[in-house]
C-alpha cells in the first residue's frame, strides 16, 4: 500500500498577538509514509512547532487553524469532533516535547502517568496495565523499572524524563510519533542515547516519526526525508541523501555554509544577513528575498511556486522555476556567482569595519603560529578550586561541599583562544566566573599578567577589571532591559575610567558600535528593540568598551540560531585578529570549538580530563570521555560519522563524586585501578595531555 499515513494539505495557522495576527503557518503541505522518519527543519520562530501542534489540534489558546486538511489514513482530523479527536491523540498520534523537565506532571508518579494513557485508550486495568507499563519502561531503557514505577519525575534526570515521555507516547503503539525537538534540552552524550532509542523503537515498531529539529546534524542522522521551513512555509523538501548532497534553496545552502567546523577554520563563516520578516502581513514575493544573495526583481514581485527539481525533491524558489533559462536548470547558481560577488561587495560597504577585520583575519592568522613564542601566558590558572558548602541538620552545619571546580589549571596567551568544553554541570561556567573573581575561588591561584587576582581586593581589583571581561550566554538577561544601549556601554567606561570626558565616551561608543556591526544611532534604543544576535553584539561592545585583554565567552552562541551564531563567531574572530584579544571560550558545542579555538581543555565533573591543541584533541582524542563526547556529536556528513561510543547513565553529582577517576562509572574502558585513585595527567606531546590510567600503564 503506497498511500501515505499522514497527509497535510495547505495548512494555515494564525496566532492572535494583540491587534495583529501572526501567520505562524502559512500554507504547509507534506506527507509522511508509514515506517518513515520525516524531519521538519528550521530555525526558531519558523512555525515548525505550530505545525506539529496543529496536527494534534493542541494549539495554544491564541492559535487557530484557519484552513487546510490533515488526513490521517484518509480521514480529515480537522473535521473530527473534539471527542473523536481525543481518541486519536495518544492512540494514533503521540507526541513528545522539547522540555522533559516541565512536560511531566510533577506531583504524579511516572507509573501512573504512563498508565493513564493505557486507561484512556485500552481496556487494560490493574495488574495488566502495570505489567504493560513496566514493559514500556524496560523498552525505553529505564533500569530497574519495577522499583522506579512509583517514583516522581523530579527523581529522574533530564534524559531519563525524556525516556519516560517516550514511554507515555509509545503506550498505545501509535502510528505516528511527533517528536518536537526531543533532544534540544539535553547534553550531547544524552542526546546520542535518546536518538539511538528513538531509532531503535521506530525500527522495531514500524511507526512513522515526525522529527522537528533545528539541528542539521540530528536531522542527518535520523531522517529519511527532510523538509525545511522558513517563515511559515516549507521552502525545500527532499529525501535525505538528495537533500544533503544537493540542496537547492539559497536558504538551505546558507544554513549548511554557516555551520562551523574544522573544515572552515581560518575562513569566515557564511552568514544570512538581516532577520526573518514579521509574519503579520501578506507576502507579495519570496519571504527570503530580503536576505537572499541571489534575489532579483522577480523575487520581491512574485511569490515563488513549489517546483520539483528531481523526483521527491521540491523547492520554493524562482531560481529553480522553469522561467530560468532551461540551460541553467540543473545548477543555476554559477550564473549568479558574479551577482553574489556584487552582493558581497555591497555587504562590505555596509559594514566596513567588519570587512577590514575580515581581510586582517586572513593575514594575521597566517602569522599566528610563529608569533606564539616563549612569552609568558596572559592568564595562568593553577589548581583552581571552587567549593560551595552544603548546609544540613539542626543548625545548618556544613555537611559537605559541592565541588563545582576541583583543581583546574590552564593558561591562555594573548591573541589565542582556549576552549573549555564540557557538558552542563561540569563546572565550566564556574571556572570562567571565578577567573573573573565574580565568584571568589576557594583555593588556587589566578595570575593575570603577573598579578595574583585571588589576593586583590576592593580598589586594587577594580583597577584590574578593565583587563578581563565577560560575554554571557543569554543575550536576553545579560542586558538591563531598563537601560538604553548607550547607558549599558557607558557603564563600564565610567566605572573603570576608560574615557574621561563625556564627549570621548560618545566617540568611542560610536566606533565600538560600528566595530560590532551596529549603527551608531542604535545607542539611543533599548535592548528589547534588538534581536538575539544584535543583543549579543551589544554585549560584546560593552565588554570591549573598557579595552580588555581577555574576554571570557560563556557559551555566547548557544542561545542563537545557527545562522546568527555564524555572525557572532565571525565577529569574535575578527576582533581577536584586530585587537589581539585572548578568549576563554566556554562551550558545549564541539563544532564551534573545531572552528574557533586554538587550544582545548575538556572538563568532566570539576576537573580537566584532557587538554591540547585543537588538532590534537579533536583529531586524536585520548581520554575515553573526550572520545565519547566527540563520537556523540551528530554530524551532517555521513562520511565523517564516527561510531557512537555509548556512555551509560548520567553525570554524577559534584557534591558526591565517584571515588577514583570521576569518569569510571560511565567509562567503557574502566579498569580496577580507575576505582581507587584519580589518574595523573599523562603527556603525549608538549601541549597534549590526558588524565587516564589507560596510558600510565605503558
Amino acid at each position: 500500500m503506497n498511500k501515505p499515513l499522514l497527509q497535510v494539505e495547505n495548512l494555515k495557522v494564525r496566532l492572535d498577538a494583540g491587534k495583529t495576527q501572526v501567520r505562524a503557518v502559512d500554507g504547509v503541505s507534506f506527507a509522511i509514509n508509514r515506517n518513515e522518519t520525516f524531519a521538519l527543519l528550521g530555525e526558531s520562530g519558523c512555525g515548525k512547532s505550530m505545525t506539529a501542534l496543529s496536527l494534534m489540534r493542541l494549539l495554544p489558546e491564541a492559535g487557530r487553524i484557519e484552513s487546510g486538511r490533515v488526513l490521517l489514513d484518509g480521514q480529515d482530523l480537522l473535521c473530527l469532533p473534539e471527542i473523536a479527536m481525543r481518541s486519536v491523540r495518544g492512540k494514533r498520534i503521540a507526541m513528545i516535547f522539547q522540555e522533559p523537565m516541565t512536560s511531566l506532571n510533577p506531583v504524579m508518579t511516572i507509573g501512573r502517568q504512563i498508565a493513564e494513557t493505557l486507561h484512556r485508550h485500552t481496556s487494560l486495568r490493574g495488574e495488566a496495565a502495570q505489567a504493560r507499563v513496566l514493559e514500556l519502561l524496560d523498552a525505553v531503557g529505564i533500569p530497574d523499572a519495577r522499583a522506579r514505577y512509583h517514583d516522581y519525575p523530579f527523581q529522574f534526570s533530564g534524559g531519563m524524563k525524556q525516556r519516560v515521555m517516550i514511554a507515555i507516547a509509545l503506550a498505545c503503539e501509535p502510528d505516528l510519533l511527533i517528536a518536537d525537538e526531543p533532544t534540544t534540552a539535553l547534553d550531547v552524550t544524552i542526546q546520542a542515547q535518546v536518538l539511538e532509542l528513538l531509532r531503535r523503537l521506530q525500527r522495531e515498531r514500524g511507526m512513522a516519526v515526525m522529527l522537528i529539529s533545528h539541528d542539521l546534524g540530528v536531522v542527518a542522522e535520523m531522517a529519511q526525508r527532510v523538509a525545511v521551513m522558513y517563515a511559515g512555509e516549507i521552502v525545500e523538501m527532499a529525501g535525505r541523501e538528495e537533500f544533503f548532497a544537493n540542496p537547492q534553496h539559497p536558504y538551505t545552502r546558507k544554513l549548511f555554509a554557516s555551520l562551523p567546523g574544522a573544515a572552515r577554520r581560518g575562513q569566515q563563516l557564511e552568514i544570512i544577513r538581516g532577520s526573518v520578516p514579521p509574519l503579520d502581513r501578506e507576502f507579495s514575493g519570496c519571504r527570503f528575498a530580503g536576505r537572499c544573495d541571489y534575489a532579483w526583481q522577480k523575487c520581491s514581485d512574485e511569490v515563488p511556486v513549489w517546483s520539483e527539481v528531481a523526483p521527491g525533491h521540491g523547492v520554493r524558489c524562482h531560481l529553480v522555476e522553469s522561467v530560468v533559462p532551461a540551460s541553467l536548470h540543473p545548477d543555476p547558481f554559477p550564473v549568479h556567482v558574479g551577482c553574489q560577488k556584487l552582493r558581497a561587495l555591497h555587504h562590505v560597504e555596509q559594514h566596513p569595519a567588519q570587512c577590514a577585520s575580515l581581510i586582517d583575519a586572513l593575514r594575521v592568522d597566517a602569522l599566528r603560529p610563529t608569533q606564539v613564542g616563549f612569552d609568558l601566558p596572559l592568564l595562568q590558572v593553577a589548581d583552581l578550586k571552587v567549593h560551595f558548602p552544603i548546609h544540613k541538620g539542626l543548625f545548618k552545619r556544613v555537611a559537605g561541599h559541592v565541588r563545582a571546580v576541583d583543581g583546574v589549571s590552564l593558561a591562555i596567551h594573548s591573541g589565542r583562544t582556549l576552549a573549555l568544553v564540557g557538558e552542563s554541570g561540569c563546572g565550566k561556567t564556574t571556572v570562567g566566573k571565578s577567573i573573573l573573581q565574580l565568584i571568589r575561588p576557594t583555593a588556587g591561584s589566578v595570575r593575570f599578567a603577573g598579578d595574583e587576582l585571588t589576593r586583590l581586593k576592593g580598589a586594587e581589583l577594580r583597577a584590574r577589571r578593565a583587563d578581563f571581561q565577560i560575554v554571557f550566554q543569554d543575550p536576553y538577561s545579560s542586558l538591563d532591559p531598563r537601560m538604553r544601549v548607550a547607558d549599558i556601554i557607558e557603564e563600564g567606561m565610567v566605572a573603570l575610567g576608560a574615557a574621561t570626558s563625556s564627549g570621548d565616551r560618545q566617540n568611542s561608543m560610536d566606533s565600538l558600535l560600528q566595530q560590532v556591526g551596529l549603527s551608531p544611532d542604535s545607542k539611543y534604543r533599548y535592548p528589547h528593540e534588538f534581536s538575539g544576535g544584535q543583543r549579543q553584539r551589544i554585549a560584546i561592545a560593552r565588554a570591549l568598551a573598557v579595552k580588555p585583554k581577555l574576554i571570557v565567552c560563556d557559551e555566547p552562541t548557544s542561545a542563537l540560531d545557527v545562522s546568527v551564531q555564524a555572525q557572532i563567531l565571525n565577529l569574535l574572530k575578527g576582533l581577536q585578529n584586530e585587537l589581539g584579544l585572548a578568549y576563554l571560550f566556554i562551550t558545549h558545542n564541539l563544532a564551534v570549538v573545531e572552528y574557533f579555538a586554538h587550544e582545548v581543555a575538556v572538563m568532566y565533573l570539576g576537573r580537566i580530563v584532557e587538554r591540547g591543541s585543537v588538532e590534537e584533541v579533536m583529531q586524536a582524542p585520548r581520554h575515553p570521555y573526550t572520545r565519547a563526547l566527540l563520537s556523540a556529536v551528530p554530524v551532517v556528513d555521513a562520511g565523517s560519522r564516527r561510531e557512537i561510543i555509548r556512555l551509560a547513565g548520567d553525570m554524577p553529582s559534584p557534591a558526591n563524586p565517584p571515588s577514583g577517576c570521576h569518569f569510571h562509572p560511565r567509562c567503557p574502558q574502566a579498569m580496577d585501578s580507575c576505582r581507587l585513585n584519580y589518574p595523573a595527567a599523562i603527556d603525549f606531546s608538549a601541549t597534549h595531555s590526558a588524565s587516564c590510567f589507560l596510558y600510565s600503564e605503558k
Binding site: 491523540r89 512536560s103 510533577p106 494513557t117
Partner: protein, 325 residues
C-alpha cells in the same frame, strides 16, 4: 522531618521573644502603668493613692525590668517584665485588669469562635475552589468574564455591609434566624448558620478570583499539554492534573490561617453577639483592658508561628518534590 520541626520550633523562640519585647515596650514603656491607671480611674479628680492602689492590685507597681531592691534571682523575677511577659511562654496570661482569669476566659471562649470560624474556613475553601474551577473550565468565555466581574464587585464591598445586609435581610425581614446571640450545644446551630453563610459569601470575591489565577497558571503549563496529548478530556485534565498541582499553593496558603481560627473573627462575632475570642478582644479594646490585649497579641503570634510550621509540613504532604531537611 522531626529534626526539621525541632529546628523550626527553635527558630520560633527568638521570634516570640521579639514579639514579647515589642508588646512589653509598647504597653509598659511607651505607656506607663500610671497612664493606664488614669484611664481606668478617670483622668480628673484622681488621687495618687488611688493610682498606687490600682497599680498594686494588678502588680503594676513593681520595677519594669530590674528590681534592685530585691535579693538574688528576685532581682530579675520580681518585676513587671518577668511576671507579665515571661509567664506568657508558659501560657500563664495572669488576670485581666478587671480581675478575671484570662487563661480561663480564653479556654471557654475559643469554642464559640471555632464554631463559627471553622465552618467558614472549610465551606469557604470548598466554595471558592468550586467557583474557581468553573471559571477556569470556561476560561475566556462570557461565563468566565462575568464570574470575574462578579468577583471583583464582591470584593469591593466592605465586609461590614455583608453582615449588616445579611442581618437585615435574613433576620429582620425574613425572620429566618435570630439576629444575634449564642447558645450551647445543638441549640447553637440556629445562631451559627447566618454568620457562617455571610462569612463564606464575604470571602468568595477575593478567594475565588485568586484561586482562578492559580488554576489558569497551572493550565498553561507544559504537563497539561502532555496530558491533552494523551487524549484526555478537558475535564479529566482539570481534575486529574491541574487540580492536584493547583492544590499545592491553595492548601499551603490556607493552612497558615488554621491555627488562627481559634482567635475568631472580631467583626462578625461582635455583630452577632457570639461570646468568642473575637468579641472578647473587641470588648477588651473598648474597655482598654491592656492585660487582655497583650495576652491576645501573644496568643496570636504563637498561633501564627504554628501556622507557618504547619504550612511547611503540609508542603511535604501535598508536594512529593519537597522533603524537609
Amino acid at each position: 522531618m522531626i529534626n526539621y520541626i525541632i529546628r523550626r520550633i527553635l527558630y520560633a523562640i527568638p521570634i516570640l521573644i521579639g514579639v514579647n519585647l515589642l508588646t512589653f515596650a509598647l504597653f509598659f514603656v511607651v505607656n506607663t502603668p500610671d497612664n493606664m491607671a488614669r484611664i481606668h480611674l478617670g483622668v480628673k479628680h484622681v488621687t495618687p493613692e488611688a493610682i498606687m492602689k490600682w497599680k498594686h492590685e494588678r502588680g503594676y507597681d513593681k520595677p519594669l525590668m530590674w528590681n534592685s531592691a530585691a535579693q538574688g534571682a528576685k532581682q530579675a523575677s520580681d518585676t513587671i517584665f518577668f511576671e507579665k511577659s515571661v509567664g506568657m511562654f508558659a501560657f500563664d496570661f495572669g488576670r485581666s485588669d478587671e480581675g478575671r482569669d484570662i487563661a480561663h476566659d480564653i479556654k471557654t471562649r475559643m469554642w464559640p469562635s471555632l464554631a463559627i470560624a471553622l465552618p467558614v474556613f472549610m465551606v469557604g475553601l470548598a466554595v471558592n475552589i468550586t467557583f474557581a474551577m468553573l471559571m477556569a473550565f470556561f476560561r475566556a468565555t462570557y461565563i468566565d468574564l462575568s464570574g470575574v466581574v462578579l468577583c471583583v464587585a464582591m470584593m469591593s464591598v466592605s465586609g461590614l455591609f455583608y453582615i449588616i445586609g445579611g442581618q437585615y435581610l435574613v433576620s429582620k425581614l425574613l425572620h429566618l434566624t435570630p439576629i444575634s446571640g449564642f447558645d450551647a450545644g445543638s441549640n447553637a446551630l440556629k445562631f451559627i448558620i447566618l454568620p457562617v453563610v455571610i462569612g463564606v459569601i464575604g470571602g468568595i470575591g477575593s478567594g475565588a478570583r485568586w484561586y482562578r489565577t492559580i488554576f489558569l497558571e497551572e493550565t498553561s503549563r507544559d504537563y497539561v499539554r502532555t496530558a491533552r496529548a494523551k487524549g484526555l478530556s478537558e475535564l479529566s485534565v482539570l481534575f486529574g492534573h491541574v487540580l492536584k498541582n493547583a492544590m499545592i499553593p491553595i492548601l499551603t496558603g490556607a493552612v497558615v490561617v488554621i491555627p488562627l481560627l481559634f482567635m475568631g473573627s472580631l467583626i462578625s462575632e461582635s455583630f452577632f453577639g457570639i461570646p468568642g475570642l473575637g468579641s472578647y478582644t473587641i470588648d477588651a479594646i473598648n474597655a482598654q483592658d491592656f492585660a487582655v490585649v497583650r495576652a491576645m497579641v501573644f496568643l496570636g503570634s504563637v498561633l501564627y508561628i504554628v501556622g507557618l510550621i504547619l504550612t511547611d509540613i503540609s508542603y511535604t504532604l501535598v508536594d512529593p518534590r519537597i522533603r524537609l531537611e
